[in-house]
Symmetry: C3
Subunit: 445 residues, 3 copies
């Protein structure tokens, strides 16, 4: 029901319908609304862009020091590639789809055409926002999905093959599944699937791709011993992981708030404000719930659980950050926080090695958040939500597995055992993240 890219005027109308809050009159001129809508996309977009830094810091803090430089290069490269691929082909594939369709149009090199159009005689402001602002906002979402993958498969995946996976994910896999819902394709048209800002479309998509990678690439050497012992491999810098989480939290205001897609009316302004309050509440609920759960289960609070609790709470509210009350948002996020604490050891039992806990936070909570939509939004149904979760889950998993396997049996996806022990920073980059200290430290001057 929440097609992410709306046609002329629909955005405002839909927003008003959703929030049931438009007064009988509107005082905002078309051009003023146009500027507000556009500015909202740009501001929310730069917040989401900054999430790339958040993921980079979270992952830098969660890997061992011998792999930190490599995870940094992966993060800046994947953000870059996501933007290039979405420009090259992704955006048109995602939004150039017929209503109710299954696949969008293949056309290369997206470009905005509204500056010229606006100059023509008889031009109106009905488009509602500038084309590039929407493109920018959608592009940073693609990058987010790709960021999720890098953390899970860290510390053993080869650099260039990983980036090839990112290119395919962001050029083809993400846009196709995204088109089904936000492009107004079949999921949106036929099943009333509802995913406001992307619990499923972004976070679970990244999560499924990560899960397939973790299975196909296999666990880090030594992580699971033959006798079934789990060897902890603690991250190298907790403050960087904490910083990353705070940056993600900040970015999420743009992620969810901007998904209102409009700021051109008081009703939109109210909606975005409610989304800000709910998003924060869910994250707070996730933190506190995860801390309590880890205190109860392990008699200690674990910082990484608190951090992933925040992310789990945020992912959980992302499918529907507008309809719930603040209290319901706390509960939805709190369940997410508990799910993270439960899912982390479960994955370890299954010997699925997820370095940063991205699968619990993004995939498990993404499913939970999507299923929770009908609890507060009567326009959605459990059936419709299930169809969306399963359809996208199957498509992304199968497509990702094909790409991972193709890479595995051609260029290879995993570094040599020896290189893994030495650390990817030396083997892949020939450098060290902390040359003067840390386990890999050798150069001292």
């Amino acid at each position: 029901m929440t097609s992410k890219r709306l046609l002329l005027g629909t955005g405002v109308a839909l927003a008003a319908a959703v929030t049931a809050s438009a007064p009988a009159f509107a005082e905002v001129s078309g051009e003023t609304a146009y500027i507000f809508n556009t500015f909202s996309f740009l501001i929310c977009g730069f917040l989401v862009m900054f999430m790339a830094a958040g993921f980079a810091m979270l992952e830098s803090g969660m890997v061992r020091s011998k792999n930190v430089a490599t995870i940094c290069v992966k993060n800046i490269a994947l953000y870059s590639i996501a933007g290039l691929m979405f420009y090259l082909i992704g955006y048109d594939l995602m939004y150039g789809i017929d209503e109710g369709g299954y696949i969008g149009s293949f056309s290369l090199f997206w470009s905005p055409d509204d500056a010229a159009a606006l100059a023509e005689e008889g031009a109106t402001f009905d488009a509602g926002y500038s084309a590039s602002s929407d493109w920018f906002f959608q592009m940073v979402f693609v990058a987010t999905a790709a960021s999720i993958v890098s953390g899970t498969v860290a510390e053993r995946v080869k650099l260039w093959p990983f980036l090839i996976f990112v290119a395919v994910l962001t050029a083809v896999i993400y846009p196709i599944q995204g088109s089904w819902e936000w492009g107004a394709g079949w999921l949106d048209a036929e099943f009333g699937f509802s995913d406001f800002a992307g619990s499923t479309l972004v976070h679970s998509t990244g999560g499924w791709a990560a899960l397939m990678g973790a299975i196909i690439i296999g666990a880090r050497k030594g992580k699971y011993s033959a006798e079934g012992r789990i060897n902890p491999m603690p991250g190298s810098s907790m403050p960087l992981a904490t910083l990353g989480t705070f940056i993600l939290w900040l970015g999420w205001f743009g992620f969810n708030g901007g998904s209102q897609l409009a700021l051109g009316s008081a009703a939109d302004a109210i909606a975005i404000s409610d989304i800000f309050a709910n998003t924060n509440a869910a994250a707070a609920g996730g933190v506190v719930a995860a801390m309590i759960a880890s205190q109860l289960m392990y008699k200690k609070v674990d910082l990484t659980m608190a951090l992933n609790g925040a992310i789990g709470g945020l992912v959980s509210i992302t499918a529907e950050p507008l309809a719930p009350t603040i209290g319901n948002s706390v509960l939805i996020g709190g369940v997410g926080g508990v799910l993270v604490v439960l899912a982390v050891p479960l994955l370890d039992k299954l010997k699925i090695d997820d370095v940063v806990g991205a699968i619990p936070a993004h995939l498990v909570c993404g499913i939970w958040g999507t299923l929770a939509v009908p609890l507060t939004n009567s326009d959605a149904s459990f059936g419709g939500q299930l169809v969306g979760i399963i359809a996208i889950g199957l498509f992304v998993s199968i497509a990702s597995a094909i790409v991972w396997l193709a890479l595995k049996f051609t260029v290879g996806v995993r570094v040599d055992e020896e290189d893994e022990v030495m650390g990817l920073d030396r083997s892949e980059l020939g450098m060290e993240a902390y040359p003067e200290f840390g386990a890999g430290g050798s150069q001292r001057m």
Copy 2:
């Protein structure tokens, strides 16, 4: 005079009166102003929210490596708890107060009701901004006050008792004193106390709570020797402390700028712009003054003095960031920077152990900034300012002391001596912030 939450229309009118700059006509429609006001709250609010990351990094950098993970978990937890408490009870306690009153209304679970109201026939945009945007903006202020405390009492306070203190501070103590002024209670109504963005209401409040904590909990083991020697315990990461300070500086534009509470007229836009320029000038003045002062006093520039000089300058201008010229702002901030350099050794002489220097920067400069208001704003008087400083100082100190003492004599507020020596990361969390390096480093792989 600057009630922080204004009723219909008053906001714009007051702003205009303060800046004496409204033209005879107004061209902005009510709905457009509504969107501007709301958007300003959201943007300034996310900047202030990000200050939580700033405090986390500043404190991570200023504690020793064996306590870094614990300070991280405290910071993300306190931000979460502050939001939950302000939702649970704080906001209504702060703003549901009769004009001139002493205590607000106790009601649970705040919720916005404006979306429905706006949809009714005859609805207007007179509210001026969305309810949730104001709630969000005020909530991040509460969190800031709590953040101040964690740094001072770091490295020896127990995790859960500290969080209980935070819950009481943000649910009850902060809102009650806040209601006296920003809720239009007695301080605002009877004494003309003026505190634009919270030198006293936010920063001194955090500072008094921190001071009581530092006294009741006591200094870190080994900090002050029996012979009166002060043992320096340098922080583990200066770049993280620097990053934290820059993030705080960034956030302060939202902190002070957003406290204009409106962006719906050119007069408001001018006011916020002047506030941005003055806020920056005061911080810059604080940095340079602190550097010069530490050069003169110690023959060396100290980085932590420069950083706290920035914060001291920012706190100093917060009570009145609009009325001064840029030059006066430099001076007000510069005095703050010098006060920081003077207050740090003074606290040490008093054997009050403030790990990050929060009391000099937030409490001392908060008092100075509040006293300085009448220098540039003729609506304020020294008498009124003193009443506010003393009333809030007494209330917060006594209330905080009661809570700290109650915790001390029940669950205990301080970790065992042995645990303190080992570091809180191991004793409280069972983990390390930098497992591969640092003093506490043991796991190397």
Copy 3:
């Protein structure tokens, strides 16, 4: 042609002309446009302000641990001093110039006067934006130029002499060259020089000042051996360098987007949106091109090349982020990324020791970006661009050299050899950035 500070109304009109996209009618009221323009300056301004943190982190990560605290204090001090100098004298020198003139007016203590003016009878909103918002936006640009210098001359320049250089650069050198173009001086009036957001005016200016410093101060001890061997001195923290680059990337949306100088029409909104998309595309192109180039040249990807590739791409698009298509932006940025990879070893051959690679990224790419303007903007000519590059290059280089030399032969610019070996943190500050670990680590508790 792009005078950076526009007079009444011209801003909107010019923007419209540049993008050729104004509809026949305008719906936005003068006051609404005024607020939008002002808010855009403030938001873009705080993004650029945050670049100071980006430079601080980038440089902290790229220097050795014994010099990290010093580079932190330099960065927060230079940002502070830049703001104070621009207030003291710089702004009037830059913008108080006659059209076509060579030097602006010397007047002390800039202050805004628009609040009072707006309150007068007959006042209009023709100014287009608040004075302080423009001041703030221009001020953060000055600071950026100064930030570029600190990285190049790190690890051997004395603290206070460096800050004196910064004071002269930001008070006099930057404003004078800036006045020639953005102040509507001779370069703008007579040669049609075009530099939208400052590839030359900001980045090359910083680069020339840095180059002169590197030459006059000389290379770090041991960097170049007598036999011509280049001794690598790897930076102490790759994740901090990565974080710094992401922060710069984020800030650049404000840097380039805000340089549209207006948001008061749909045409402006479209222009800023296109600038966001192009800026991101150029950075992405820079990253990928630098990675491929370093893979081809060295058989390894180098993280610092990827990071500097992003910055090189961003600098390259800064002279003209509006006219190119996204595809052209990728190419312009990509060339910048390759230039970085080529220029870094070239500088080493010339024994010019640039600690962070600022000269390749800011100076070389600044020249490239300025020369590339006529490729996509027919209003600019190669001749005019060359005149601007040479005039500003000569002026900044000569002026900078004079200041560096004056400092060298008076107070001295370089620390003692012994102090350099020990590290500036101990010799200049008497402290350590990482007291518990790192090469300089001595205090362990």
